[in-house]
Structures are given as structure tokens and as C-alpha cells.
Amino acid sequence: MATMDVVPQQSGGQAERRRIVNDMSIQVGTVNGSGSQSSNTVLLRAIFQMGVPVSGKNLFPSNIAGLPTWYTIRANKNGYIGRKKEIDFLVAMNPETAQEDVLSLGAGASVLYDEPLGLDKLRNDLVFYSVPYDKLVATVCPEAKLRKLVKNMVYVGVVAQLLEIEMGEVEKAIRKQFAKKVKAAALNMAAALAGFEYAKANLKKRGTFYIERMDKTAGKIIIDGNSAAALGCMFAGCTVVTWYPITPSSSLVETMIEYMKEYRIGPDGKATFAIVQAEDELAAIGMVIGAGWAGARSMTATAGPGISLMSEFAGLAYYAEIPGVIWDIQRVGPSTGLPTRTSQGDLLSTAFLSHGDTKNIMLIPCSMTECFTMAQDAFNLAEQFQTLVFVMSDLDLGMNNWMSDPFEYPTAPIKRGKVLSKEDLDRLGGFSRYKDVDGDGIGYRTLPGTDHPAAAYFTRGSGHNERSAYSERPDDYANNMERLNRKFETARSFVPRPEIIKGNNANIGIIGFGTSHWGIIESRDQLRDEYGIETDYLRLRAYPFTREVHDFIAQHDRVYVVEQNRDAQMLTLLKLDVKPELIVRLRSLSHLNGLPLDARSVTDQLTTMEGK
């Protein structure tokens, strides 16, 4: 199976001998469970340490061991770190996929392969390098059973030599990777060196790709979105986490467990948090709601199938007005779909999750920084609006390695929303749970355990009046639903506003969100440089939409809504929101092959639709 879209091969001829510096995509094809993750991380870090902007994407099967897996490192001097459609340098380690991987390369690419695979017979328009890995490994690793793992570190050395990555940085990256495991670090370093020396003595550089030191990563960090979210939730003062393992969300909670154990347990050994693995997603969301009702900052993390299971409880939380944060690390659905491929396909189902008239707040991070900051926004909004807030991440963002500026310490105080204390009740004498006192649609609540005879109220779905007494009166129901709508309208002014990047007198607009951002910003440059097309760009960061979104559509003749799903889900949400005469300006530009969005796909589709 090819992991990239097949690129038409240019006929014959030798690869060009241009020198292409700090602009390439390196793909490593291995077998799942072969320990290649360490090698790939080392390669990624070594390039990063040389100051070159970089990203790493793991394309893996739904499997623990034995099936093919690919890791793609993109290094780009301009800071484009989205997926690149073409692969420039293939490291072919997996006999099962090697042939197809080679056949799908564009002309001029380089291939590094295990000697017995004999791949150089397949094409004459590529640059081939072969390495006898088993022989090299045998010399550095006497223990036969470790050889399979160490073998992968050999290619790191070879790649370093061929691309001119400094071995000093490789060594530093190996030490970081194996941290306290000194023996493992030494063994891996020996393997990398063996590869480096072999390449130096035996391989003649014929390719065009080079890494050169630059200064674009100073001070930056490498992290994945799930870890960034975990940190964000910890600093947001989250106290209760309940979850059910599901790819690609599990690592969010698992990383959070590590951080919380390290930083949220007092000297007396007592925890300021509870993390409970539930029996299923139904229970996970139930616990989030129970905890939110009782005043905790509670959350769960899941993916599409989990969101579906949470549907009934989500409706109750909407009507009963209970805070909670749900991370949806979107992936291709359903459970037996492509659970390890990325997607932005849960937008419609989440926006209206549940029965009856429900509307949910969604936040949509596009970067590591936003995974961190939106964690805090999510908890604040959930408590301010007494409702569930969904953070719509995806597999590409959550599980892949991204370069980022370091996170800034949150300075704004935590916002706990309208909660009445015993002292408040002493002063007020009582309260009506669902009364719109402030005209923003948001009532005041009390927490169970509040020591005041007037604190208690009865929580149930929509069948209640302002005083939370049971009611099936038509006017009570209608008034309550109208108030809930008012609350949602209020949220428009509080959710994160979109980011708008202007072109030069553009009459074409692009609307995007989440991880599509990285393909879009690169595509905008391609459109300008290659086609002379100017575009303005609006990046959505939340649902409900803010006023800027309507203005943006009104200001452009045509607006392309870029999204990673088939049915133009975000465009559908926009249609429901904008004035009817603006709807005709919206065009869908969708990408749905399970791979992260790449710039070229956007450029190609947009220019075709523009008739270029």
C-alpha cells in the first residue's frame, strides 16, 4: 500500500544534481513493533537541533506488531511543517512494502534500502543507496535478539552521512532518547556510527538533498498535541479525569497521568486530582457530568466512536446545564474503519450531539500552543456556560510530533462561573437555578454539599421551571429552550475568535481550521507564487461562529472551505449560520484519504475550481 498519493513519473533520465537544502520529506518504511520509533525520533531531533524547522508524522496501522508503518519527517527552511505530498528520500526497511513504496516515488527521489531487497532494478530515475544492515549490526551488537531493534539505528547514521546531518547532534539526540539507559544509548550510538562510517566509505553521494545548520528552532520544543493538551489541562486546574482507552486519544490521558503524578501530588502523598479508567465511554461521560455537577473541573478524552456513545448523556448535560470538557481526537470512523488515520469528520455529529434541540460549543486547536491554551479556554467556558465544551483535535495533531514555541504560563485566573456559596445564599436568602438573572441566558448554580438550607435544587433534563421544580407546562418548556438558545448566542462573544490573514486585495477567501491550517498556509504561498492567486484566510477556532466569520464571507466573492471530511461538515454548519444570500459564495474543498492534508492538494483543487 502506498502512503502517498501516486505522483506521475517523469520519463527516464538521471536525477538532477541540484543542491536542495533544508527542504525535503524523508519517509521511513518499517514494520510495526520493530522499534523504529526511537530511530525516527533521533533523526527528527538531530535535524531540529541543527536549527531546521521539522515535523514528524507517524502513519501506523491498527496493529501492535507485524504490519507496515511509515514515519515521515519533513524538514523545511520556510517553516512549512504540514505533510508534503511528495517523498524525497525513502528509507525502505520493510520488504513487504518496499517495492510499492519505490514505485510511488516521484522522479529524482533518493532511496536507501536493505541490500538483499535489490530495489535498484525497479526504476532508473531514482538515486539508490544500499546498505548490508545485518552485516553491520552483527559487528556492533553481539546479542542476537537486540539486533532487530538496533538495526534501525544504523539507517540513522547512513542518512546522517548522506544528508550531512552532524553526528554530534545525532549523539545528543540518542542520549536524550535513551536518557537514563546508558547501555542502550551506547549500543545505539555504536550502531549509528557503524552506519555513518559505512556510508562514508562505501556510498557515493548522488542525490540532491542536504541539511545545513540554520537558526530557526532556537528555544523551541518538540511535542505532540495530546501531551500539549495534557499539560494544558493540568495547568487549567483540572481535578477529575475519567476515560476509556481509544486510539488516538489514549495518550492524552496517559501523559496526563504522568504529569499529574509528578506535579499534583502533595508532600503528604495526597492527590489533588482523581483519574479513573471507566468501563466504557458511557460511564466516562457520566462521571464527567457527575463530577461537573458536584463542582469539579472534569474531563474525558475520546474519539468518534466514543462521542457517539456519549450522545445521550451529552443531551442531559446540555439540558441540565452541567459543565465538562471532552477532547475529541478525531480519526476516521467507525471502530472498524481506519482508526489510526486522521480526519475532521466529527464536526456535525458533535455540534448537535444528542437528541432534541442541542447545540454544543466546540473549540478547534491547530497547533501545540493552542492545545495548551484551549485546554484552559475549554474549562473556563464549560464552567462559565455550564455546558459541555468539546475540543476538536485530530490524530495528526494529537499523536504526531510538532515543533512549537514553548508554552506561556497562564496568567489569567481560573474562571469558575456563576456558583453561589453559602455566604451568597445567606445574603440572597435563596435562588432560582434556571432564572436568567443577568440577561445572558446563564443561571446561577450551587454545588451539592453547600451548607445552606436553600442551596439544594433538583437536577433533571428539560422538564423544569426556573426554580428547577418539575414542570411539563408548555410555557416553561418553551421559555427554558429559548433561554438555552440565548446562552448559546452569548457564547459567540466568548469563544476564541478566528485568526485572519490577509492577502493583497484578494477577492478569494479560504476558511480552514485545525490541522488543515498547515497545508493551507503553504498552499496560499503556492497559489501566489505559481498562479498569481491572492487569497485571504480565516482560520476558525470555535463553534458557534463569531461575527468575523460572517463579515469575512461577505467580503469575498468566493470562499473555499477546506476540511478533512467528505460531506463538507463545516461548510454545512456555516450554511446554517450565515445569511441566505451568502451561502452561494461557499465552496467545499475537501480532503479525505486518511492522510494529513498537504498543501499541493489544496492548491490543485482550488486552481481547478478557479478554472486555472
Binding site: F235, V276, M287, L316, Y409, T446, F458, T459, R460
Partner: protein
């Protein structure tokens, strides 16, 4: 010198140890059928809470869906209450207790809400030994949807329509004991004394209390041929123990014979005394308890009493080693680590 005789103080309304009258434990007017066993259970809950001097504000009433689950509206208006979704009250209770460990969680469920749609969350609640009281108001039928069998209906029990149940019942008590609940018993809504005693002991326990209370449905399951009717239960009830309860704030003034009585010291220092009506029954023996319950099924008995009690097993809250104060209201200084923590985390990622 003239002494003025003290005026006799007028007898005020009777109050409990925290100065509240029983009226302050009442709820709204019931909307269940006249004679419904659930109403009797609500009354016993009110008495138990009042007599134990539980502050109503500390109680969280939780329920799922069904006739049983409506009943929290009919007792203790001064307690927060959450009528959630069908079969999933356990997760609400778990979340609430994680947020505020000082709450006294009282869950009211039914046989449909527990043993059918809710069996998944029920069994996991039992495994976790969450501190809470979980009451099943068990009538063997779905009342709100007009009388279909539930999964606790006995083999051969007959509906009014003549439909006979041909699937074996789930014994929620046996299940609870097997899975880790630490105070398990069965009672009957018509047995005021036994139920009240068990509820008071339940309030004193820290861990999952699972009480299956047979509570006849007067509208759909109280006829000849039903095994959950008032008459059937009265005719077939076998009681394991005669029980008495001395709360921690009262002196024990009754001597008991250790040969015939099992005395259990509860978490709060209260004493539950179980005078054995069956020789050799040991309510601390999990295996024996399950065996006895199985025998009851074979013999067609409605067995009541405290089947199992364990006051030493750690609860979920103990296992999590939470701070003493409720997580819900911890100050930001405790829930947001300092600037240096973020800086250290960033440094690790460079």
C-alpha cells in the same frame, strides 16, 4: 426573698441530635401509586436520616429512570438531587463522589434501571466499592412503561396478562457480593423495622452499600401468580437475622451473646448487631453468602437480612489517596502548578 418558679418550657417539636425536626427531611408529595412500596422506602429513608442526625445538605440523592428513580423527589428536599439517565446513575455517583468525597451519596434505582439497561455500570460500581448507598426498589416489572417483566422477575412469575417469565432472574445481591460491594442486604418495603435498621447501618458504612428492597408494584405486579406481590413476599420471606443498631452517639446498653449474635462495628463507630436465626451463618464470609443466596433460589425463598459486610476493604476514594478537602473547591494555588513546573516541562521538550 421570693423565688420565681421557672416556667415549664413548652414542649417544642421533637428534634434530632443536630437540632432538626423530621419535617426538615421531607420531600415533595409523591406522584407514585397509592400503596406503592417505593413510598414506604422513602419514609424509611427519611426516618433513618433523621434518626442518624445526617445533615440534609451533605446528602446527594441520585437516580436513573423509572418509578423508583422519581422517588428522590419525595424525600429530603434540602438535599441536592440528580435524576439522570436510564441505567447510568452509578457513573453520576462516581463523578460526584470524586468531586466531593464528603458527600453522602444515596442512589435510588429500580430493577430495570439496575439489572437490565444499567447492569454494566452497576457491576463496575460494585467493583470499585465507591462509598455510597445504592438502593434497588425491586418490583420485577417496568412500571412507567406499564408492566413489562424486568430481569429480576422470578422464573414462572406471571403478569396480569398471563405472560409467564421463562428467564432466570439476576440476583443483584449475589452479584454485588461477588464483585466487591462491602455491605449487601435484602429487605422488604413492608418490613419497617428491618429496613430502617439496615438503612441506619448503611449510613454508618464507608464503601458500597447495596440494598435490594423488594417493593411490590400495586398496579402491575401484585396479583396472584406474581412472586413480587405483598402476599407472596409475606408468605415466602425467610429472615437471616434479627437486627438491632446502636448509633455511634448512643451508649450500648444491651448485652449480647457472641454465640448467637454477630456484632459489627461500623466505620463511624456505630454497632450493628445481628442475632442469628440460622446457625452458623457468617455475614463476613463472602462465599457462604453467595451459596446461601443460591440455596434461597432453589427453595423459592425470599431471603432477607444482611448477607455480607466487610468494614476493612478500601474504598475507591481510599485507593485514589485524595486530599481530604473536596476536589471541587480546591483553590487555584493547589490545582495549578507553579511557573517553574511549566518551565521544567518545557526544558525537557527542547
Amino acid at each position: 426573698m421570693v423565688t420565681i418558679p421557672a416556667e415549664p418550657t413548652p414542649a417544642g417539636p421533637k428534634t434530632n441530635r443536630i437540632g432538626l425536626t423530621v419535617v426538615e427531611y421531607k420531600g415533595g408529595k409523591t406522584t407514585l401509586c397509592a400503596g406503592c412500596g417505593h413510598n414506604a422506602i422513602s419514609e424509611r429513608i427519611i426516618e433513618a436520616m433523621y434518626e442518624m442526625g445526617v445533615k440534609p445538605e451533605r446528602v446527594a440523592k441520585l437516580s436513573g429512570i423509572g418509578c423508583s428513580s422519581k422517588s428522590p423527589a419525595y424525600f429530603m428536599n434540602r438535599s441536592h438531587s440528580f435524576n439522570s439517565v436510564h441505567g447510568r446513575m452509578p457513573s453520576i455517583a462516581e463523578g460526584a463522589m470524586l468531586a466531593n468525597r464528603n458527600l453522602l451519596a444515596l442512589g435510588v434505582s429500580g430493577d430495570g434501571d439496575t439489572a437490565s439497561i444499567g447492569i454494566g455500570q452497576f457491576v463496575h460500581l460494585m467493583r470499585r466499592n465507591l462509598p455510597m448507598i445504592y438502593i434497588i426498589e425491586d418490583n420485577g416489572v417496568y412500571g412507567l412503561t406499564k408492566g413489562q417483566f424486568s430481569a429480576t422477575a422470578d422464573l414462572g412469575s406471571k403478569l396480569k396478562t398471563g405472560v409467564v417469565n421463562d428467564l432466570p432472574p439476576i440476583d443483584t445481591c449475589a452479584l454485588a457480593i461477588q464483585l466487591g460491594a462491602t455491605f449487601v442486604g435484602r429487605s422488604f418495603s413492608g418490613d419497617k423495622r428491618q429496613l430502617l435498621t439496615m438503612l441506619k447501618a448503611a449510613i454508618s458504612h464507608s464503601g458500597t452499600v447495596m440494598l435490594d428492597v423488594v417493593s411490590p408494584c400495586v398496579t402491575f405486579n401484585d396479583h396472584e401468580g406474581s412472586t413480587k406481590s405483598y402476599k407472596y413476599v409475606k408468605d415466602h420471606e425467610e429472615t437471616l437475622q434479627e437486627m438491632s443498631f446502636v448509633p455511634h452517639f448512643e451508649e450500648i446498653d444491651v448485652e449480647y451473646d457472641p454465640g448467637t449474635t454477630v456484632a459489627v462495628t461500623m466505620h463511624d463507630g456505630s454497632h450493628l448487631q445481628l442475632r442469628k436465626l440460622e446457625e452458623d451463618y457468617d455475614p463476613t464470609n463472602r462465599i457462604a453468602a453467595i451459596t446461601r443466596l443460591n440455596a434461597a433460589h432453589e427453595q423459592g425463598e425470599v431471603l432477607t437480612g444482611v448477607f455480607y459486610v466487610n468494614t476493612t476493604a478500601p474504598s475507591l476514594i481510599d485507593q485514589l489517596n485524595l486530599v481530604d478537602a473536596p476536589l471541587a473547591t480546591l483553590p487555584e494555588s493547589l490545582t495549578r502548578p507553579g511557573r517553574e513546573v511549566l518551565e521544567a516541562a518545557m526544558e525537557e521538550l527542547r
